[in-house]
Structure formats: C-alpha cells, structure tokens
C-alpha cells in the first residue's frame, strides 16, 4: 500500500522488564527494520534487564495482578495461585515455549537480528546510573548510553515517530 506520508523512522522506548513488555518493543523494532524503516530502540528503567548481559535471556512474566493471564484451557488464573513458588518461572517457561513455536527468538538473538538490519540499541543514562550499571554489564548490541536530550536528537526527522510501548 502506497502512503503519502510513510513512516521513515521509529524510536521505541522500552521501560518495563517483563517478557511481554520487552517483546512488544522487540517485535515492533524488528518489524520496522524489516520494512526498511530506520529504527532506534531505547531501554530505560526495568527495561534495562533486556540489555543487561546476565539477565536478558532470563526475563519473566508477572503472574500476580495480571487479570489477562489465563490457565491452559482458558480459565482466568487467580492472583493467589501466582504466589505459589515456581509459578512465575513455570509461566515464563510456557510463554517462551509458545514464542519459540512462532519462531520468535530469545532476547539476545532478537537483538542480533535487529542490529544486523541496521537497528540501533541505546541505554538510558539515568537508568544506568540509578541501577549502578557499567558499560561492560550491558550487551554488546548497545551502541550508546544516551541522556533524554540526546535521545530526542536521535529521534528527529521527517516521517519519524516516537513509540512508548
């Protein structure tokens, strides 16, 4: 479909660290790269886990206070069940298995795909300072630690959009 004002650049912000929050950002970023759209992906606050080497492939999904979470078969999962030890790990394992079936890769491999296509991964300066992270703690995919001002500089241009997932 030909658009009069096509999207030429997207800058995505990922501020949360659960599987579903991080993958929303990753799928949108990778999809943009695949469409030939210039792509920036900026991680901040709890989203930092997705670009922290020791944590990026061990993300979990929250099982307490998530009213949309369902048990296999479709019944709502009561929040009280979520406090059972191992429930969060089990649910996260199930989520990852379902995604693998759809050929959705682990976080580190997803970042490989995005950067191979020219997508840029950035970390937030404030979050790096707040969580006392060092450059070497972060994944090699990260090409810079930006202040919010620098982020806006990178995000500018005709046909560009900022998306907060």
């Amino acid at each position: 479909m030909e658009q009069k004002f096509p999207i030429k650049k997207v800058s995505l912000i990922c501020a949360k660290g659960s599987i579903e929050d991080v993958y929303a950002s990753l799928i949108m970023a990778n999809g943009a790269v695949m469409e030939g759209i210039e792509t920036n992906l900026f991680f901040t606050f709890f989203g930092m886990d997705a670009i922290t080497k020791s944590r990026m492939d061990k993300l979990h999904t929250g099982v307490v206070g998530n009213p949309a979470l369902r048990l296999p078969g479709g019944m709502r999962m009561p929040s009280l069940l979520g406090i059972i030890p191992g429930m969060e790990a089990f649910t996260s394992w199930m989520m990852k298995g379902q995604m693998e079936k759809l050929d959705i890769p682990p976080v580190s491999e997803f970042l490989d795909l995005i950067t191979a296509g020219g997508g840029k991964i950035y970390a937030c300066k404030t979050a790096v300072d707040m969580f006392k992270l060092k450059k070497e703690d972060l994944s090699d995919h990260v090409c810079g630690i930006l202040t919010i001002g620098e982020f806006y500089e990178h995000a500018g241009g005709e046909g560009s959009q900022i998306i907060f997932t």
Binding site: M34, D103, A116
Partner: protein
C-alpha cells in the same frame, strides 16, 4: 486476478505483485522482477531464494530468523542483498507469497 508479463511469460500475481502460483516462476523471470526492485541478482541471491522457495513449498514459516539458520547466508548479508525490506523483496523476486509472519 491480475497478470504480469516477465521475460515473455504471463504470470498470475496479486494486487501487490506477488505470485499466486509459484510454479510459474523461472530464474529468467526473477531477473526481470529484480530489475523492477533495482537489484542485480548474483549467485548468493539465487541461493537464498532457493532456500525460501523450499521453505515455502514445505509449509514452513518464512521469518527473518530462518535466514540465520539457512546455512546459506546470515541476516546481515540478507539485508545487503535485498536493501530496504529484504524478506518482502526476496519473496517477491522468488515468486512466492508475501510472508504472513510478524517476525
């Protein structure tokens, strides 16, 4: 259904120009479609297109991730071979439907 003529052969395509019958495709036709996309085909292009066609024929999903596991080329090279929107361009030139996957 729309039709297009490439290299003297009339083929069935959809409104976006993707083949609706992949058996009508030949390497000569691919050269012509590639020209429309501004691409000059090389051995590497044909090798990855053959991989994509085989995957399509066997009913496997066409994802960007599968390229890395193809053993033919890596994703970075894929982006260089088909600049812009590689999976869309590659499938169009390879005479198979546009991938329905989000990854």
């Amino acid at each position: 259904m729309a039709q297009k003529t490439y290299a003297g052969v009339t083929v069935d395509v959809n409104e976006e120009g993707y083949f609706t019958n992949s058996s009508q495709w030949t390497k000569e036709i691919a050269v012509e479609i590639a020209k429309e996309e501004g691409i000059v085909l090389t051995g590497q292009h044909y090798a990855i297109m053959e991989f994509l066609r085989n995957r399509f024929t066997s009913g496997d999903p066409l994802s960007i991730r599968s390229i890395n596991h193809s053993g033919v080329i890596d994703v970075k090279t894929f982006y260089q071979l088909f600049p812009g929107a590689p999976l869309k361009k590659a499938t169009k030139i390879a005479g198979i439907p546009k991938p329905a996957s989000c990854v």
